[in-house]
Each structure stands twice: as C-alpha cells, then as structure tokens.
C-alpha cells in the first residue's frame, strides 16, 4: 500500500509518515502543492493525504486538477479549518474524506485504511460473513451460528458497516459519519452505548466475542 502525503508542516508530515510506515505502508512526502500534484500523478498511490493550506498550490486546487486528469485515487483532506462549510467545499472539490487538525493518529490510520479499501470494495456483494456471523444485505437477515438475530434498523446499519470494514479499526467519528450520517461532536460517549447494545445481541451467549474495543481508538470486528 502506497500513501502520498502532501503537507507543508515538516513535523506533522514526519509524524504521519513514521506512523504509516510502522503500520506497513510505504509513504512519500511532498511539502508543497506543485511537487505534490506531480508526484501524485506520476506514482500509483492507493491513498493521497492532502493538507488544505499549502504553498505553491492550494490543497483543493490540487484535488481539482487531479480529478481533471481523471485520477480517481482516494483523497483524504487534512485541515485546520474545521468548519462544516470547509468540509463541504473539500468534498465538492473531489476529496473523499475530511479530517480536522488536530487529530489522533489512530483516526487518520482508520480513515486511510477505509479509503484504501474503497477501491476494491464491491457494493454488489449481498452477503457478508465473518466467522459464524452472517449478514444478508438484501433480506437484512442477520444470523450467528445459525441463530437468527433481531436488530433495530440502526443496529443493522452499524453491524453492516463494521462487517464491511472487518479486521480494521473503526473510530467513533467514522461511525457517526457513516452509520448516522451526521458530522458532529458528541459530548458523551454515546456511540459506546450503541456498541454495547449491539454487542449484547451478537456476542452475548457466544463463546467468542467478535466485536472488540480498541483502546484509545475505536472498535473492530474480527474473528
């Protein structure tokens, strides 16, 4: 997996680069928009991380030019501007995800992983399976060990998202954005309550827990 980082702040860039390399990614770094665009178009990267305010070429403009060349590499926008409008602008320019500085590295890692998988994810898959957990996206049927599990609509969507990203850390913010479809700051760990409810339905009574809490990061569904 190759990741391109376009970020003018050396320390932040180094921090991201080192973190990604520790997780097995190959990461390249450009400290201005023009180099960033050239490298992004030359190399074949799985994900490009772009800061918004860049010398040479503004981050959004970089994404726009990339998209004009029909380069559809997923882009994660990093920004100190954390406003809703800015996110809307970023996504409109062709970005795929938006992360506000300051951020926890696990949050960035989870998003990069989700984006790098996006390409080879097939939305036509109708059945998801993990160990003895089974989910049918057409009938919305959920079974574990052959036993039918009744889920509320939101619980179903939560489980579906976790199963689609199984084996990978999913942060609370990602869940809010993808399962609830709202970008907001919860004051309390409201997501934990939903997770523990879901856990009560899919893990309770079974020997092997599938839904795991990753400390300081989020959750992961894994066999």
């Amino acid at each position: 997996m190759r990741v391109m980082i376009v970020e003018d702040d050396r320390e932040t860039a180094e921090h991201i680069k080192r973190g990604l390399e520790e997780c097995g990614y190959v990461a390249d770094h450009a400290d201005n928009g023009i180099d960033g665009l050239n490298m992004a178009m030359d190399g074949s990267y799985n994900v490009i991380i772009v800061d918004r305010m860049l010398p040479g070429l503004e981050g959004l403009e970089l994404i726009r030019r990339l998209r004009e060349h029909e380069d559809l590499t997923p882009v994660l926008i990093l920004s100190a501007l954390g406003d809703v409008d800015d996110r809307v602008q970023g996504l409109r320019a062709g970005g795929d995800d938006y992360l506000t500085k300051p951020f926890a590295f696990v949050e960035l890692l989870a998003r990069v992983e989700a984006l790098s998988r996006r390409k080879d994810q097939d939305s036509t898959i109708t059945e998801l399976e993990l160990d003895d957990l089974y989910l049918n996206r057409l009938t919305r049927e959920v079974r574990r060990g052959g036993q039918k599990i009744n889920l509320q609509p939101r619980e179903y969507r939560l489980l579906e998202y976790l199963m689609r990203n199984s084996g990978q850390v999913v942060t609370r913010t990602m869940l809010l954005e993808n399962v609830w479809d709202y970008h907001f700051d919860p004051q309390t760990n409201i997501i934990d309550v939903h997770i523990s409810r879901l856990r009560g339905k899919i893990d309770k009574g079974f020997d092997k827990p599938l839904l795991q809490t990753v400390r300081g990061a989020g959750y992961m569904l894994k066999p």
Partner: protein, 489 residues
C-alpha cells in the same frame, strides 16, 4: 474657534446659501426697478404729448397770439408748486413767452425729448428739479418746449435702491448671524462626539455620546453610535471573559497532564499505566479547543454554505434515536412527540449538533427514572423544537449566563463536559436566526428553539424556472437570471 468656524461645512453652506439668495433678491429688485421706472417715464411722456397736442391745435386755430395767450393762462393758473414748464421761442431761440429763462442745454433725442436740471429760484437754498421736456417746431420757425418735473421718478428710484440696499444688508447680516449660530451649534455637537470618541480611544470604554432627547438628527446619530459602542463593549467584555475562562479552565487539565508526564519520567520503565490518562487529558484539551474554534467559526460565519432545505422532524428523530439507549441505561423515559412540519433552511449537521447538545444535557442532569420529552410542532411561521425534562433545571437568573462559554452551574461542576455545549447551541441558533429560550419548570427545564420557516420567494423561483426553461438563452440573459435571485436575498 475662528478657524474651525470658518472651515465648518455648515458655515460654508450657509454662506453659499446667503450669496445665492442675495443674487436672486438683486435680480428681483432690478426687475422691479426697471419696470417701475419705465412705467413712470411712459406716464410722464404721455402727459407731455397730450399737452403738446393741445397747444399745437390752439396754434393751428388761433395762431401765435392765441398760443401765447394760452401758455400765459396755463402758467398763471397752475398752482405755485406746479411743475409744468413752457417756453416758446423764435427760430433764434429768443424767448417769446414762458416760465423758463432760456432754452435748456441738454441733448435732444430723435423725438425731441430733453432731460435737464433746474434750480428753483423761489427757495433758498435752491432745490434741484429734474425736468423731462419735449421740444417741438411750429410752422413759422417757432420752437415750443413743454416739460414736466419728474422728481417722483427720482424719488421712486431712490426709494427702490434704498429698500434694496437695506433689505439686502439686513438679510446678509441676519444670514451671517444665523450661520454662525448654526455652525457653532453643529460644531458643539460634533465636538461632543469627537471628545467622547477621543476618551474612548484613550481607554475609557464606558463613555457615551450625550443626547438632548429632542430626537433630532444628532440625537439619532448619537444613539446609533452609543448602541454600537454598547455592542463593542459587550463584545470586548465577552472576549475578556472568554480569555479569562480559557486560561482558568485549561490550566487545570494542563497541570494534570504535566503532573502525569512528570511522574512518567520518574517511574522509569513502568510508565505505561500513566500513558493512557495523559493521552485522554490531551484529547480532552484538543476537543475543548476544537469546540471553541468551531463556535467561533459558526458565530463569525455568515456564508451559510452548508445550508439547505432540511426536515427538522427527521433531524430531531435521529437525535432522539441516538440518545435513546443512553436514556434507557439511566431508566429515563424519553418520548418524542412530532407532527409533520414544513422544511426549514438550515445546516443539517449543525442543527443535529445543537439538538444533541440539549438532549445530552437533559439526559445527563435528569436523575434516574426521570422523564424527558422532545417535541416538534409548527405554530404560525415558526417550527418549535422543545426538550423538556424534570431534572434540577436552571434558575431563571442564570438563563442568560448558561450560553456563555465555559459557564457551568454549581450543580454541573462535578459532571463531565467542557462548559461549551450550550454556547454551541446558542451559536447555531444565531446562525439560523432561531430563538433559543429556557423555561424554568417546577421541577425541570424546557429548552425551546424556534426556527423561522423560510419566506416563499416567488420572484426567485420565477427567475430560476425562467433560466431553466430558456435553455438556449444568450449569455447576457443567463447572467441576468442568475443575478436576480441573489439580489432578492
């Protein structure tokens, strides 16, 4: 004082006004002068001509003797103060009869009119008499002169000039006095404003421009300025309070973080159990900063780019659904009462955030087994979202304070939270033009958010549909259609 007075715009204006008015008065008087005098001259000439015609007829009927007799009669019968002058001479200008010693020297015009001056020998000192006369040649070489005193004309002329002069003088004088007084008054008011602003510049923010209470232009200006100053002062106050609060509220977690790091550096290899709390502390600080920045951005942002037509009932239902498990854990009853409501114009994420913050507080502060009711209904031009709980509530006196950044009631101090939740709600409401109101219940609290329904803009809809239907419109007409709706906003 003299320099600012002469330079004051009011004074200059009144001077300009005085000179314009004087010019028009002079023109008016000149017209009166000219028309009065020419009328009087005409009258005098007419009388002369009449007299001459009578004398000519007598000469034709009765010859030189008859004419001489008539002239003598006329001179004798006219009153002492009479002013008709007769002189009949031979062709050599030898006097035959008349009350004038000799032929006057004045120039004669084409019709024979002569203007000359006489000295009246009957009085001492001899008054000067202005005479207008007409000379006439009779058959036989005789010359006849008939004249009349035209003192009236001169008196009238003098009067008119006198009136004009005095009138103009008084007018200019009064105008000057008025303009000086007016400029002084204006200058005084302006000086007051200047003095106040100077005091404010030098740091006395509590100063206000004095008003007279007459509601005149200056009072209105002063009131506006004062309102602006009030706003600035309260903004500065809030900035000061916020920075105080930030310093105070961030010092505690930073101290804790520092202590943790310190004990980590002492504990050698066994520092791992300090790591997580330290990261949590830093995360908490970051999220506080993020929330502060976010509130500031929302408060300053008038662009409303994230705005679209949203269904409040859907957003509210999503919030309730999100918080349901939490309420259930606390054995609270959380109900949602909703009616179908028309869509409003708003930012979906921000409205969600605001409603979530209110509901979060309700769940947090309402004790176990409490009741929380969320309702959404339409009334008039508003959609009202209400969150009611039977928790401890917020005393009336604190309703204004709870939306300030970092403000926490005594009962909330031991709860988690950063003291920014309701500030965020207030900022979101302000951005949406929604009214936020707290209502103290016994026991409990109702929080109302009144969103205004969008005004139906028929004009802009019309312009939109026009630009859509007219697919092959030229560039200029497309621009026109595009500018119209934005002008309507």
């Amino acid at each position: 004082m003299a320099r600012p007075l002469l330079r004051s715009s009011t004074f200059k204006l009144t001077l300009l006004y005085i000179s314009l008015f004087s010019t028009s008065v002079i023109i008016l008087f000149a017209f009166i002068y000219w028309s009065t005098l020419s009328y009087m001259t005409e009258q005098a000439d007419e009388a002369l001509n009449l007299e001459i015609r009578g004398l000519k007829e007598r000469y034709k009927d009765a010859g030189l003797n008859g004419l001489t007799q008539l002239i003598r009669d006329r001179i004798n019968t006219q009153p002492p103060s009479g002013s008709t002058i007769y002189l009949l001479t031979s062709f050599r200008f030898d006097s035959i009869v008349g009350n004038l010693d000799r032929w006057p020297r004045g120039p004669e015009d084409a019709e024979g009119f002569i203007d000359f001056v006489l000295e009246d020998s009957r009085f001492e000192p001899r008054p000067v008499i202005h005479v207008r006369a007409r000379a006439f040649n009779l058959d036989g070489g005789f010359r006849l002169l008939v004249g009349r005193g035209i003192e009236d004309l001169f008196i009238a002329r003098k009067r008119i000039i006198w009136t004009l002069g005095w009138g103009l003088g008084i007018m200019v004088l009064l105008g000057l006095i008025g303009s000086i007084l007016m400029s002084r008054g204006m200058l005084r008011r302006i000086d007051q404003i200047t003095a106040t602003s100077e005091q404010i510049v030098s740091g006395d923010l509590g100063r206000r421009v004095p008003t007279r209470g007459t509601g005149d232009d200056f009072d209105r200006l002063s009131e506006h300025l004062n309102r602006m100053l009030d706003q600035i002062e309260s903004l500065l106050d809030s900035v000061r309070r916020i920075s105080d609060n930030i310093a105070h509220d961030l010092k505690t977690p930073l101290t804790r973080l520092r202590n943790r790091l310190e004990s980590m550096s002492h504990s050698g290899a066994d520092f791992h159990h300090h790591l997580d709390p330290a990261i949590r502390e830093a995360d908490g600080l970051l999220s506080t900063f993020n929330a502060l920045l976010r509130i500031a951005r929302i408060e300053n942002d008038a662009r409303k780019e994230g705005f679209s037509s949203i269904r409040l009932e859907e957003v509210v239902a999503d919030v309730v659904e999100l918080y349901e498990p939490l309420a259930e854990e606390k054995l609270q009853t959380l109900t949602l009462e909703q009616r179908h409501t028309p869509p409003i114009n708003g930012d979906r994420d921000l409205v969600f955030q605001a409603v979530a913050n209110i509901l979060d507080n309700a769940v947090k502060y309402t004790p176990e087994n409490g009741i929380i009711q969320v309702s959404i209904k339409t009334g008039g031009k508003r959609v009202r979202v209400t969150v009611t709980d039977n928790g401890p509530g917020i005393p009336d006196a604190l309703h204004e304070k709870v939306v300030q950044r970092f403000f926490r009631t005594d009962s909330s101090r031991n709860q988690s939270g950063n003291g920014l939740g309701l500030s965020m709600v207030a900022a979101v409401c302000k951005l949406h033009g929604a009214q936020l109101r707290f209502e103290e219940l016994d026991p409990g609290l109702s929080v109302h958010m009144d969103f205004m329904l969008p005004v139906v803009e028929k004009q802009s809809k019309f312009a939109d549909s026009a630009s859509e239907s007219d697919g092959i419109s030229t560039n200029s007409s497309t621009n026109y259609a595009n500018t119209k709706p934005s002008a309507a906003h």
